[in-house]
Amino acid sequence: MRNRTAQFVMAAGMIALNVTTWSPSALADAATDEIAKYREMLADGNPSELVAAQGEELWKVKRGTKNATLEQCDLGLGPGVIKGAAAQLPRYFKDTGRVQDLETRLMTCMETLQGIDTKELNKTKWGKGEMEKMEALVAYIVTESNGHKINVDMRPAQMKKMYELGKMAFFYRGGAMDFSCATCHGQPDKRIRLQDLPDLREHKGAAAGWGSWPAYRVSNGQFWTMQHRLNDCYRQQRFPEPIYGSDVTIALSVYLAANGNGGPVLTPGLKR
C-alpha cells in the first residue's frame, strides 16, 4: 500500500505540471485521461486506506476526560458494531431523540463515552486537529460498509420529517446567484465545465452521489467527509456556511440517502 501511495503522489505532481503548461482545452482532455489512469492504477487500492487505518487506531485509543475508547459507540446496530453501520445512516436514534448522520452520531459518542467537547469541531478547519481525527474515524467506519447497500430506515416519523426538510432545502433558492442544489443537480445528464452532475432528485443520481461519499479527492489529495462535500456545494452555491452537523446538513443527507435507497455503497469513493 505504501508503495502505491508513493506512486500516486508522483502522478498527482504530474497533473499539477500539466495545469501550468497546457492550454485549457487540451488540459481538460488530458486531465480526464489522467484521472482515468489513476482510477486504473488505484483499482485495488485507495489512498483513504491510510486514513482509515488511522481511524481504526483512534477508535481504540483512550481519550477525553473520561479516558475511554469509542469501542462501545452505538452507530445504530448496537454498541461496537461497525460493519454495515454507515450504510444505514442517517437514522433516528431514540437515546438522543434526533436524526443523526455518521458525523453527528460520532460526536454524541465522543461526548457521552469519552467526555470530549465536540463544540470545538465547529471552529476547527478541515484536516486539522479534532477535525482530522473525525475524518479518520469516518474513513474507517465507511470502509466497513463498502459493498453494502444504502439502507436507511424511513419508517420513523422523525425521518419522514427530515426528508421533507431536506427536500425543501434542496430546492431552496437564494444567495447572490439565486442558486439552489436543484440548479446544478435538478436535471438529468447535465455538467458544469467537464464535470458530470448527478440528478439527485432521482434514484440513480442519488445512489451514485450519496453512495460514493465520503471520498478521497485526487485533485487536492484530501479525504472529505459528507459534511465537507455539502459544505463545499453550499460554498459554490454562494450561500453562507452551513454549520457543521446542523439540521440542514442532516436533512439533505436523509433526502439523498432515501432517494438512493437500495443502491450500492462504494465508500470511501475516489474523486477528481
Binding site: 485549457p24 482545452s25 488540459l27 481538460a28 482532455d29 425543501m168 432545502a169 430546492f171 431552496y172 433558492r173 437564494g174 444567495g175 447572490a176 446567484m177 439565486d178 442558486f179 439552489s180 436543484a182 440548479t183 446544478c184 435538478g186 436535471q187 445528464d189 447535465k190 455538467r191 458544469i192 465545465r193 467537464l194 452532475l197 432528485r201 460554498r235 459554490q236 454562494r238 450561500f239 453562507p240 456556511e241 452551513p242 454549520i243 446542523s246 439540521d247 440542514v248 446538513t249
Partner: protein, 170 residues
C-alpha cells in the same frame, strides 16, 4: 433552516433569506404562467441599458470574464472583480471544449442572430437579469445582483457578437 447557517468571509448570513421570486421558484416545477409573467414584468424593470448607448467592449476581455467562474463565495476576498462563469453552463466558442450544459449553446451567437437593435437589447437584458425573460431561470442576474459591472457586460456582449470573436469565427 435559519439556525443552520452562519456568516463566513464575505458571505453574510442574510444572504440565505429569500427574495420573493427566489421563494416562488423554490420548487421542482415552475409556477403557473400567470405567476411567471408577473415576476418577469417586475424583473424587467430592473434592467438598466448602457447610458452612453454603447453595448460593445473588447471581446478578448469578454472571453476571460466568460471563462472565470470565480467570485462571491466565502473563499473570495472581495465581492468585486467577479467572473461571469458563463462556461460553467454554456458552450460559447469554437475552441473551448470545457463547457457546461445547464444553459443552451451560444456557439455562433452573433452570426446566427445578427445584430439588430432588438437582438442586442434582448441579449443585454438577458445578461443583466435573466429572470426578466424566464422567471425561474437557472441563470444568475449578473447586472441586477451586482455580480458583474456594466463594463464587464459590454465585454461579454462583444464576445458574443463580434465577428472576430471565436464565438463567431472558426
Amino acid at each position: 433552516m435559519d439556525a443552520s447557517f452562519r456568516t463566513k468571509g464575505i458571505v453574510d448570513k442574510y444572504r440565505m433569506y429569500q427574495l420573493d421570486f427566489q421563494k416562488t421558484c423554490s420548487q421542482d416545477k415552475d409556477p403557473s404562467a400567470k405567476v411567471m409573467q408577473a415576476i418577469e414584468a417586475e424583473q424587467l424593470k430592473t434592467v438598466r441599458y448602457p447610458a452612453d448607448g454603447k453595448y460593445f467592449g473588447d471581446w478578448k476581455q469578454g472571453e476571460k470574464i466568460a471563462t472565470s467562474g470565480k467570485g462571491l463565495t466565502w473563499t473570495d476576498k472581495t465581492p468585486h472583480n467577479n467572473g461571469g462563469g458563463c462556461y460553467n453552463c454554456h458552450q460559447m466558442s469554437h475552441h473551448e471544449i470545457a463547457y457546461g450544459t445547464i444553459g443552451t449553446s451560444l456557439l455562433e451567437y452573433g452570426k446566427l442572430r445578427g445584430n439588430s437593435e432588438e437582438v442586442v437589447k434582448y441579449t443585454w437584458g438577458k445578461i443583466y437579469n435573466a429572470k426578466a425573460f424566464n422567471a425561474c431561470s437557472r441563470m444568475p442576474r449578473n447586472g441586477d445582483a451586482e455580480i458583474l459591472t456594466e463594463q464587464q457586460m459590454k465585454h461579454l456582449m462583444a464576445y458574443l457578437f463580434d465577428p472576430n470573436s471565436p464565438v463567431n469565427k472558426k
